[in-house]
Symmetry: C2
């Protein structure tokens, strides 16, 4: 809380402005930043606001970080994560990091003090992966993972960014076994990891178009692949009926607004919906379920579950199809890495 | 969906505009409206926007209903409920209502077609209870309760408005027993019902000032009453430590924004937070828990749980202190009713 500049008394995530100065306290860690990974909802909003113009998107990110001391999109309220190398670890830091460790932060950029020193000159503004020089500060209660030696850092980062999703799906299935799991946005990062975590159930992957269907079919990650608009409640329900019915557990991994009602209608009475998208509207979900008289348990996707990073990486290591999906998604950016 | 004017293809709650024309379809019910009960967050927003000026608040409500065909506050996204008398029930309506039944709607006003015919002339704009003439339409999938004969209609309405809260608390406690339950906003309607539903646990009621403390103490609804600002995460955690520690189940019934982090910090590792406030921010909750590395399950308070109306009314009937709290809250408005 000592790094909160304004308003006084709030926690760093709620702050309008943080102090990113480089001198650390005994329980802090300073990281030399190499790359930011913007939250998908945040990048999409910036791209739409600026008409896809890379120069203007870059200027917008620089201005947010300059004025707020953190990459906290004021419209979406979301951030992202980063990778870098530990420069200095305070003697009282409980994170177990040492200078030289290559790390990924697993807490949101919305609460991570950040200073950018290179004007993002190596970023064209056209992707959520942002090459970046500068430094960031980790607190005692932050969560950071040392990047594994056997995986490309970009690949590990892409997995760690959404590692809460498979862990929470696995926990839900332990607490309340489900026969059928429906994943909206199933070809994406969190969606495909959620499918992998639901192995053993009948899995229905909902994707938005035939290109995504082609990517997901044949991977073995889903027993059914359905093309539907996740914002179209009635259309999705009909498509699911044709694929065997609603889910006992529905997982929302679509990063566009307006999927709440469709997710509720996609879920059987007594079932559970987990919302992972930062574009989720709390009132739309709460009032939607009430308005539909839908007896569903609705969870806010908490990005932190103990052991989430190791679990997600283990899914990637053990599932070739999942790994191929991620690798194809990252494409050429993996070309220059060798284990 | 046939009453959705714009945009096409969405469900009524997501619609910008509904058609409230009085002719009903075979599966619809038309209700002559007597009173609206605005959602607390919605009324608070309107009152703040218009500086507490009753005339302007009334004009704002009239304009919302005129332009949208429903009482759906565009800022808060929330609505409220209504009471009235069934005028006509279509032969195919599954709601079991007959002409002349006195009913309360248990689905939100945000999806209920509504026409106001009296200009709200009997409302001074200074309370969320709105005397009103006009008509509303119930759909096949709506939920409405016939008002019980043994309770003042105002009292029943106040209970039914928040009857999802105690039912969901009771369900959470059945699924995962808790030793300690913390309720934020414990002197309010949903808060006091949540406390009543948590009987058998150690209950901590958090209230905002000494006036509320005085109302709650001595009722037997809570073993501890704590005065704290539910937006002050650090202050609340300290106050709870002094009262025995965090909750295994924390219930958020405070209708102001910014309580997400405090609720998360008020909850023990492995515990559950249920958010009932429509002022809850989805990203603030999701990123707050992740940023605090808080292993908590977070539920979106679904206002619909099967049997919720009967359960809430049974709590009121069996708990004199709870009933006294509600009666005192409604005050003089109950004076003209006798069973």
């Amino acid at each position: 809380m000592h790094r909160v500049v304004a308003p006084a008394g709030v926690l760093p995530q709620a702050a309008l402005r943080l102090d990113p100065s480089p001198a650390i306290r005994p329980d802090e860690v300073r990281v030399a930043v190499q790359r930011l990974n913007l939250d998908a909802a945040s990048y999409r909003q910036l791209a739409e606001e600026h008409g896809g113009d890379g120069e203007r998107i870059r200027a917008a990110v620089l201005e947010i970080v300059r004025s707020r001391g953190k990459m906290h999109n004021p419209v979406t309220g979301s951030g992202g994560m980063l990778i870098g190398t530990v420069e200095e670890a305070g003697p009282a830091s409980p994170l177990g990091l040492r200078a030289g460790d290559r790390v990924a932060t697993l807490v949101s950029l919305t609460l991570t003090p950040l200073h950018i020193s290179d004007g993002l000159q190596d970023w064209d503004g056209r992707s959520e992966q942002v090459p970046c020089a500068g430094h960031a500060i980790l607190f005692a209660r932050s969560v950071a993972a040392v990047l594994p030696a056997d995986l490309d850092p970009q690949l590990a980062l892409a997995v760690l960014d959404v590692c809460g999703a498979p862990a929470l799906v696995a926990r839900c299935l332990r607490q309340r076994p489900a026969g059928r799991v429906v994943v909206l946005g199933a070809a994406g990062k969190s969606g495909s990891l959620a499918l992998a975590a639901a192995r053993g159930t009948t899995r229905v992957g909902v994707v938005r178009d035939d290109a995504e269907r082609a990517r997901l079919e044949g991977t073995g990650l889903a027993e059914h692949v359905v093309v539907a608009d996740a914002r179209d409640a009635v259309g999705l329900a009909a498509a699911l009926d044709a694929a065997g019915g609603p889910g006992d557990l529905t997982v929302v991994c679509v990063d566009v607004p307006g999927c709440e009602h469709a997710a509720i209608l996609a879920t059987a009475a007594g079932g559970t919906v987990v919302f992972f998208s930062m574009a989720t509207s709390f009132p739309a979900a709460a009032l939607g379920a009430e308005g539909l008289a839908a007896d569903v348990t609705m969870l806010i996707g908490n990005g932190y579950v103990p052991g989430h990073a190791d679990y997600a990486l283990s899914l990637l290591r053990s599932d070739t199809a999942l790994r191929d999906l991620f690798t194809a998604r990252l494409g050429h950016r993996l070309a220059d890495w060798a284990p």
